[in-house]
């Protein structure tokens, strides 16, 4: 705010060198030779490293899935597998010189035929992205829960449809960057990165073949947004290797081109084929979902991102049986990374598009169909067919509050008034869940050899001898206000003003175990860890006070740091007196107590004790927040431009720790969702060349694209968490794309048109409207009143 942030680009270490990347211009090519001579000779250049040299020194990077035959290195070795893949790195005195040298690196390629279309990639005669695997289908599994065939057989109505979720991502304004510095005296590799990734330091150490405690990742770096995507493993291994080799700190700061094309930070790219069996009154009996994901050349977290939605595969609805087929296929495109929601947003879009279809087929109102299907508030905890139990909810109430807030009849009247003026106009609806809290369950679900369940977060709290409270957290922060969260929860438990609590970020050597802010987990997990540690402090304070007054612990009360004998307010020990006893007067401490006043708490995720069953039934995340979206959109019938005029959202994330933070998350998520629905896509041509590399061809929402979002809150606390809180970090994004699609389809309905794919592109919509105009289903432009 005052320009004093400390992002990776602001870090200045003496002697630090900068990197620039040599990238492949081909989507698939054998790398014949990397000629580095001219580049190395340029003054200011320190090193030019090729993939062949690096691969001999490092272990391949880990994916989320065990697939033999995919060797993933920071630099391509024998073969380039997508346009923009990193082939060599130049290290120089500054970025300007490094980029000059990039142009002097001479790489000879033998171009090969690429595979670009995901369905073509599944054909037996397709080029194979990773020849050692033998196929492009790197994961395929069908899960069946309850009697799907029977339910389809006996249901009075069935329908099938296909929807597509285009390849987009969260594209933070700050690109990924990492600095590595090696101290041979202590044999310690220091890393500062714009990072949001569990097990980051472990994976760097494994790749560099050094002990884990020889790597120290610093978490006190400001991260300029991530929303899932800043994993930076290949970047960090590259600079870690270079720093150790060159004896100088090395920084890699992606420029926007490197980020968009070569950063391996694209999101899900899915085709959903859905069959639904339902009653004539719109109640859904059963679903068959085939989710086909194009993960690009390197799968990253993509397979796990197909698995996580199993935990909310039926949405907020009472659906009896499900078959879910998850297929992950490689093509010669940029690799995929975890994106906000870890696959839930595309899945919610597919579910909600299906519900709108059921409404159309039965002639029922779309909102009434949801009401017929909602899990009722008295049914919680509610176990869905895939084995996950939803903790709490009151969907019907949120739904009604939303309609009241939006003043449904006048909203419809405003839509109709727009139509009367000649515009196309539509109201959309989506009711979806935000699974929160995280869980390791998708790991063993999709990788049976990976029998892991531990998924924790930690907090260390100390009260120093001056009575000041400091807490240390084991995570980087990318805008989620962790400091506020910790100070609020600890302040609540200790009865101290949050502003008086100092929050610091540990590094990976001093940190307690943690899993970073993924999976909408920090309010639950760090909140729970903070509450656990703070309660221990409080219990210790009570014990010290009671012992010093020679009464029992159950005879005193804790009053904002002071300990008072119940009914005898003059008998009291103040916070400062107790602090003095703890730090200086051991003779007054209860026997057996440790000196000082500090606590740590390592918190395992609630309901995270069991491995998945053989049939794939699994408790995925513990807590389920709910949101219902109601946008009003207007479409210009000549240009096809979609404008979101009004936006209402009902939101229930349990107990809210900080209202401003939750509001910011929700509106920010809605903005991401509007971008995914209307603007953003990483497109490729049929030869595998990316058509999108800059922010000019990847338009993101501006102030003119996001209306003044109206929020109505509701609270059904979670019975599982320290204060009833659920997550909110993915809120808005979970339902906005589905709601915008629903609104556009409501607007196009009178023309008999429907959009089945996101993003809904301006040019395509314009062309379809022009065709409708020519065929007479749309009034001619000159007849429209504006």
């Amino acid at each position: 705010m005052a320009g004093q942030g400390r992002f990776v680009a602001d870090i200045r270490l003496p002697g630090m060198l900068e990197c620039a990347l040599v990238t492949s211009p081909y989507p698939r090519a054998r790398i014949l030779e990397v000629n580095r001579e001219a580049a190395r000779a340029l003054p200011g250049v320190h090193e030019v490293l090729s993939g062949l040299t690096l691969a001999a020194q490092v272990t391949p990077l880990t994916h989320g899935i065990e697939v033999a035959g995919i060797a993933w290195y920071p630099l391509a070795v024998d073969c380039a597998r997508y346009v923009g893949e990193w082939v060599a790195v130049v290290v120089a005195e500054d970025r300007y010189v490094a980029e000059d040298a990039v142009e002097l690196v001479d790489v000879s390629y033998e171009p090969l035929t690429p595979v670009v279309d995901v369905e073509a990639a599944m054909e037996p005669d397709s080029p194979i992205v990773h020849e050692a695997v033998g196929t492009n289908v790197i994961y395929r599994r069908t899960f069946t829960w309850n009697d799907v065939d029977d339910d389809f057989e006996s249901a009075p109505e069935r329908l099938s449809h296909r929807v597509r979720w285009g390849r987009s991502s969260t594209v933070p304004i700050e690109t990924f960057g990492v600095v590595a510095a090696y101290d041979p005296g202590t044999d310690l590799l220091d890393i500062w990165a714009s990072i949001q990734m569990p097990k980051f330091s472990e994976q760097i150490a494994t790749a560099l073949r050094i002990p884990h405690s020889n790597v120290r990742v610093h978490y006190d770096v400001d991260v300029g947004g991530s929303y899932g995507v800043k994993r930076g493993l290949k970047h960090a291994v590259l600079v870690g290797y270079l720093a150790r080799q060159l004896g100088r700190p090395v920084r890699l700061l992606e420029d926007r081109l490197e980020n968009m094309i070569g950063g391996d930070a694209h999101g899900p790219d899915r085709i959903f084929d859905i069959d639904v069996a339902f009653e004539r009154d719109g109640r859904v009996r059963s679903l068959i979902i085939r989710a086909l994901d194009d993960c690009g050349a390197f799968p990253g977290r993509s397979v796990l991102q197909l698995g996580k939605p199993i935990g909310a595969i039926t949405g907020p609805y009472r659906i009896g049986s499900v078959r879910y087929e998850a297929i992950c296929v490689c093509t010669n495109k940029t690799g995929q990374v975890a994106v906000r929601g870890f696959g839930q947003a595309p899945t919610n879009f597919a579910l909600e598009a299906t519900m709108d279809r059921v409404a159309a087929a039965t002639g029922m109102d779309r909102l009434e169909v949801r009401r017929h299907n909602y899990i009722q508030s008295h049914e919680f905890p509610y176990r869905i067919p895939s084995g996950t139990e939803y903790d709490s909810g009151d969907y019907e109430t949120v739904h009604q509050k939303l309609l009241d807030r939006a003043d449904w009849p006048t909203l419809v009247a405003r839509r109709d008034a727009l139509r009367a003026k000649g515009m196309l106009a539509g109201i959309g609806f989506a009711s979806v869940l935000e699974p929160s809290g995280g869980n390791a369950a998708f790991e063993p679900l999709l990788n049976p050899h990976n029998d892991t369940t531990t998924w924790m977060e930690s907090c260390f709290v100390k009260v120093d001898h001056d009575g000041c409270v400091t807490t240390s957290i084991a995570t980087p922060t990318s805008g989620q206000a962790h400091e506020t969260l910790m100070a609020t929860v600890i302040g609540e438990e200790l009865g101290i003003e949050p502003e008086l609590i100092r929050v610091v970020h540990a590094d990976t050597l001093t940190a307690l175990p943690g899993n970073t802010p993924v999976a909408s987990r920090m309010a639950i997990m760090m909140g729970g860890a903070a509450a656990g540690a703070a309660r221990q402090i409080r219990d210790t304070v009570i014990a010290i006070g009671a012992h010093d007054m020679q009464v029992r612990v159950d005879e005193v009360e804790y009053a904002n740091g002071d300990v008072v004998v119940r009914g005898r307010p003059d008998e009291c020990r103040t916070w400062m007196q107790i602090v003095a006893i703890a730090h200086r007067q051991y003779h007054r401490m209860p026997p057996g107590f440790q000196p000082g006043l500090q606590a740590h708490f390592v918190y395992q995720v609630p309901k995270g004790e069991r491995l998945p069953a053989a049939d794939g039934t699994v408790q995925m995340y513990p807590c389920y927040a709910f949101e219902a979206h109601l946008p009003l959109v207007e479409i210009d019938p000549v240009t096809g431009r979609v404008r979101v005029r009004e936006y209402y959202v009902g939101h229930d994330c349990g107990t809210i720790i900080n209202p401003g933070v939750v509001r910011g998350m929700l509106i920010g998520g809605i903005a991401h969702g509007i971008g995914a629905a209307l603007l953003e896509e990483f497109r490729y041509d049929s030869e595998g060349q990316p058509l999108v590399g800059t922010l000019l061809d990847y338009p993101m929402p501006t102030t003119l694209d996001i209306p003044d979002v109206q929020i109505v809150e509701h609270c059904t606390p979670s019975p599982l968490t320290s204060h009833g809180q659920k997550g909110a970090g993915e809120s808005g994004y979970m339902g906005a794309p589905a709601a915008i699609a629903s609104a556009v389809n409501d607007a196009l309905g009178p023309l008999g048109l429907r959009c089945e794919r996101l993003p809904i592109r301006l040019t395509e919509l314009g062309e379809r409207l022009a065709a409708a105009s020519r065929s007479g289903t749309l009034p001619a432009p000159e007849d429209l009143q504006r």
Binding site: M1, A2, G3, Q4, G5, F7, A9, D10, G15, P43, G44, H46, E47, E93, D94, Y96, T170, V171, P172, I173, E174, T175, D222, V223, G224, G225, Y227, Q245, L246, G247, R248, D255, R256, S478, G479, Q480, A481, G660, V661, R663, G664, I667, G668, G669, I670, A671, H672, T694, L695, L696, M700, P701, T702, T703, L704, I706, D708, V709, G732
Partner: protein, 172 residues
């Protein structure tokens, strides 16, 4: 690897830049952008790089009060102008600019990366228009991208700042 002695940059020439009320003389190559000059040569890292092609607004600074993209200007081109960066908004070290206070109070920043650009653009707006409508605020900030907030709290912060400035004006 033997480290090399840096070669003196024979292509650099002195550029005279007037930034936040102070004169600086710095030798840079003519191809160095104003953004990189501010950040790497003058140590003012508040202005951020988001795209380096003028699309995102994270690099917004003012030249003679007008919001411009520092990534699209070469440092020598900025000679002769009065340059304002986010570091120059505070009246002094112990006081925040009313916009900075308002951003804080309205929770108008999350990761903080777009914030300097937003503040500089918003400061330009309030200097031209002391009573902007919501639509005018949105228009003035329409060239600054934010991925965290969805803009609503940013717009509220700017309006809050405008209100506060009105209140601080002496009565006529």
């Amino acid at each position: 690897m033997r480290s090399r002695i840096p070669i003196r940059d024979v292509n650099a020439a002195d550029v005279r830049l007037h930034v936040n009320g102070e004169e600086h003389v710095v030798p840079v190559q003519p191809r160095v952008t104003l953004l990189d000059c501010l950040r790497d040569h003058l140590g003012m890292t508040g202005t951020h790089a988001g795209c380096e092609h003028g699309a995102c607004g994270a690099c917004t600074v003012q030249l003679d009060g007008e919001a411009v993209r520092a990534c699209l200007i070469y440092a020598p081109m900025a000679e002769g102008y009065s340059i304002t960066t986010v570091e120059g908004l505070q009246p002094n070290l112990s006081e925040l600019h009313v916009l900075q206070e308002s951003f804080w109070d309205a929770h108008a920043l999350q990761c903080g990366y777009c914030t300097p650009g937003m503040l500089v653009a918003a400061a330009g707006l309030l200097a031209r228009n002391a009573d902007p409508s919501q639509a005018e605020i949105r228009e003035a900030l329409s060239a600054n991208l934010c991925r965290c907030t969805g803009y609503v709290q940013i717009v509220e912060a700017v309006r809050l700042a405008a209100d506060r400035l009105q209140q601080r004006k002496p009565a006529p």
